[in-house]
């Protein structure tokens, strides 16, 4: 199997972010997507704690403990950016004002159900943050995740077995093997990376997949 690196996965997601979009990137791998958005695109990043127009990390020594992103990393504000309180920030998210949210996931189901905040074997107390609000609110929800678990178990399922983050919320899944769209007919493969075949990807997926339309 051909598997994309994490970097190339983030790069592939970045390709699908149009110029002029308002985008929220989840904590972790999704945050890295910003590094690969082409310079000729203007993308405005939203941070759930209350920033629109998030800029790059500050120079050493110029950090402001108040100016952090959702992942608690120091950031800056771009010209044209602004601040607001948490209720307004989530009004933006829940109200459908963000064009794209990119989140990681434990599992995605063929109907677009997302499970990304808790497992059934949590040894830690649960945490949910803003994931559920982003899941229901963004116009398009992109998931970026490995196609399978470390034990090679499928993460794209007929039904999620982990607690749900949202029902029928995922638009598109970017894995290390392929890109899949959630459609009314089911999960459709829209891109296969490298030499991967539809059959190979299907064999690592519990949900039944639809082949690319032009194949």
């Amino acid at each position: 199997m051909f598997r994309l690196s994490s970097e190339d996965m983030a790069r592939r997601v970045a390709e699908d972010i149009p110029d002029g979009s308002y985008v929220n990137l989840g904590i972790g791998m999704p945050t890295r997507v910003a590094n690969f958005v082409a310079d000729d695109k203007q993308v405005i990043y939203h941070s759930e704690n209350g920033i629109l127009g998030v800029g790059p990390a500050p120079k050493p020594g110029e950090e402001n403990t108040n100016l952090i992103n959702a992942g608690k990393q120091y950031v800056t504000l771009l010209p044209g950016g602004c601040y607001f309180d948490n209720a307004e920030s989530f009004a933006m998210m829940r109200g459908g004002h963000l064009d794209i949210a990119v989140l990681g996931a434990f599992q995605v189901a063929e109907n677009g159900d997302l499970a990304n905040w808790a497992t059934n074997e949590d040894r830690f107390p649960p945490a949910v943050g803003g994931a559920m609000d982003l899941a229901v609110g963004a116009k398009k929800l992109f998931v970026i995740m490995r196609h399978t678990t470390r034990e090679n178990e499928p993460k794209i399922l007929q039904r999620c077995t982990f607690p749900l983050t949202g029902m029928g919320v995922v638009s598109r899944i970017f894995t290390d093997l392929s890109v899949l769209d959630v459609t009314p007919e089911g999960l459709r493969v829209i891109e296969l990376f490298g030499s991967n075949t539809f059959e190979e990807v299907q064999s690592l997926t519990e949900a039944r997949l639809l082949p690319p339309l032009n194949s």
């Binding site: 110029d19 002029g20 308002y22 203007q42 405005i44 939203h46 629109l52 127009g53 504000l77 010209p79 044209g80 950016g81 602004c82 601040y83 607001f84 307004e88 989530f90 009004a91 933006m92 998210m93 829940r94 109200g95 459908g96 004002h97 963000l98 229901v136 609110g137």
Partner: protein
């Protein structure tokens, strides 16, 4: 590139169709997008549903839309003021339908429409005529009315200054309904005195983040044809 500036009031409202619902910011003389309303009037779209706190006075603003017979329905809290002659006339004729909403319920219904909330329980109006036919419930001995979101096809906003991303700052009490209405329509159009460069507005003073605004038009660069 994000640049929400449009060249004229006329262009800004050109695609508002017959039968559209249009939110219009303002409270009395304060924070009303008079230029956009005049451009809308000249554009001649009719059968409009207007959502605004007041129904206009004299011959300008919403009053001019009522006078010209372009309004089918008005949703507001305080239609009757000194000089609201066109509203009174059209209402008496039965030419315009009125949905009267308590002011705080009006602004909150607009806010929740923009915030993706499906309804809220308010004590305002409980046990009154304005709650008739609405779902109610009593929680800890206090009565509440379930009120639903109020959105519109377009919002006409008035602010003091903007930038190419559509961020807005207001002047004094000119905010009133404008910030909520900007959130509650898929297409929000702001009329401002001045559009500055990106970064010119103090980010701590921005009240309406540009994400809620689709078009800005400056009174500096446009002229209302008469």
């Amino acid at each position: 590139m994000i640049d929400k500036r449009v060249a004229s009031l006329r262009e800004a409202v050109m695609d508002i169709p017959h039968g559209a619902s249009v939110m219009i910011g303002g409270f009395g003389s304060s924070g009303i997008p008079l230029g956009l309303i005049e451009a809308l009037r000249q554009q001649r779209a009719g059968d409009l549903t207007i959502i605004s706190n007041n129904a206009g006075v004299g011959e300008e603003g919403i009053a001019s839309l009522l006078r010209d017979g372009l309004v089918r329905k008005i949703v507001c809290s305080f239609p009757r003021s000194a000089g609201s002659i066109w509203f009174e006339k059209r209402f008496e004729e039965g030419a315009v339908e009125l949905e009267l909403v308590p002011q705080g319920t009006l602004s909150e219904r607009i806010r929740i429409a923009g915030a993706g909330i499906g309804g809220f329980l308010t004590p305002t109006g409980y046990g009154t005529k304005l709650a008739e036919g609405k779902e109610t419930r009593v929680i800890d001995g206090k009565g509440y009315v379930l009120e639903m979101p109020l959105n519109a096809d377009f919002a006409l906003i008035k602010a003091e200054a903007s930038d190419p991303w559509g961020n807005l700052v207001y002047d004094t009490a000119g905010r009133n309904f404008n910030p909520m209405m900007a959130m509650a329509a898929p297409l929000s159009i702001a009329e401002v005195k001045h559009i500055g460069q990106l970064g010119e507005l103090d980010p701590e003073r921005i009240v309406t983040p540009g994400i809620f605004i689709d078009r800005v038009v400056s009174q500096e660069t446009i002229h209302v044809p008469t």
